[in-house]
């Protein structure tokens, strides 16, 4: 079977992607609290949150991070990724139960990797909600394979 992944050599500076969208539900937050063990009242106490400025439980920031990673994997042909190097991330606003989020990403840098068979792609990412507000944003350095003999 042909390798459909995109190699370092195939990826262009400035390329942009937009993922499908996904509605974040109460179930997502409950499962994430159980998996991570992070039971902060912001995510788990509906009564307390009624009196907060959010009015409702909000998603863990790191749940949003995990979901955007899964969404971006659905945005197009995957890169021949060898690993993630570095993340720089900002949480700009809450993701409420019922919000629908998607991710926009752009290639902002391409540089040689630590070894000749790979390079490093910097992807700038924005997580947007249904009102086009940026709720999270950051950069990730992803190590991507070069084409053999390329």
């Amino acid at each position: 079977m042909a390798d459909a992944r995109r190699y370092f050599d195939d990826i262009q500076m400035g390329e942009a992607f937009e993922s499908p969208a996904r509605t974040v539900t109460e179930a997502d937050i409950v499962i994430f609290a159980g998996l991570s063990g992070d039971y902060n009242i912001l995510h788990t106490d509906a009564e307390f949150m009624k009196s907060s400025s959010f009015g409702e439980r909000i998603a863990h920031g790191l749940l949003g991070l995990a979901i955007q990673s899964g969404l971006l994997a659905r945005a197009g042909t995957p890169f021949a990724t060898l690993g993630l190097g570095v993340l720089r991330w900002k949480f700009k606003g809450p993701i409420r139960i019922g919000d629908t989020i998607r991710v926009r990403a752009k290639v902002t840098a391409k540089k040689d990797g630590p070894e000749p068979d790979r390079g490093v792609i910097t992807l700038e990412r924005q997580v947007l909600n249904q009102r086009d507000e940026v709720v999270q944003e950051g950069d990730t350095d992803v190590v991507v394979e070069r084409r053999a003999g390329g």
């Binding site: 998996l35 995990a66 994997a73 993630l84």
Partner: protein, 135 residues
Amino acid sequence: MATPQFYFEDVVLHGVVETPALTLTETHVALYSGLSHDSAVEPGTVPELLPLCLTTGLGWRVPQPPLAVLAFMGFEWEVLQPVRVGDTIHSRSRTAVKRSLREGGVIVEDRQVINQRGEVVHRGRFTFLVAKRPA
């Protein structure tokens, strides 16, 4: 009744918190991947964001009330080596910055994820906005 919380005033600059450990299983990976649709790059390893996602919860298992986080503002994170299914990780954090604001304060923590061989596998820096003790 007020829930006990660890407020800005309680945080000790340069204080170190070391958490209990957690063995990463196929179940953690399946739950995480089912939830997020994020997957591991290499078979036998865990998705690279999974240890990061578990590190805040590990902090809930130390014998002190949870930090009164008003907002998780951001982080920087570096993946130094892969974490494999079966590895047992814990987290060590150190308060690097404590800056008081009119309402609450900013806490910056240096955090490491350490495996069963004592190797630092991931590391980074978290920034939180934390509530002050109610008057």
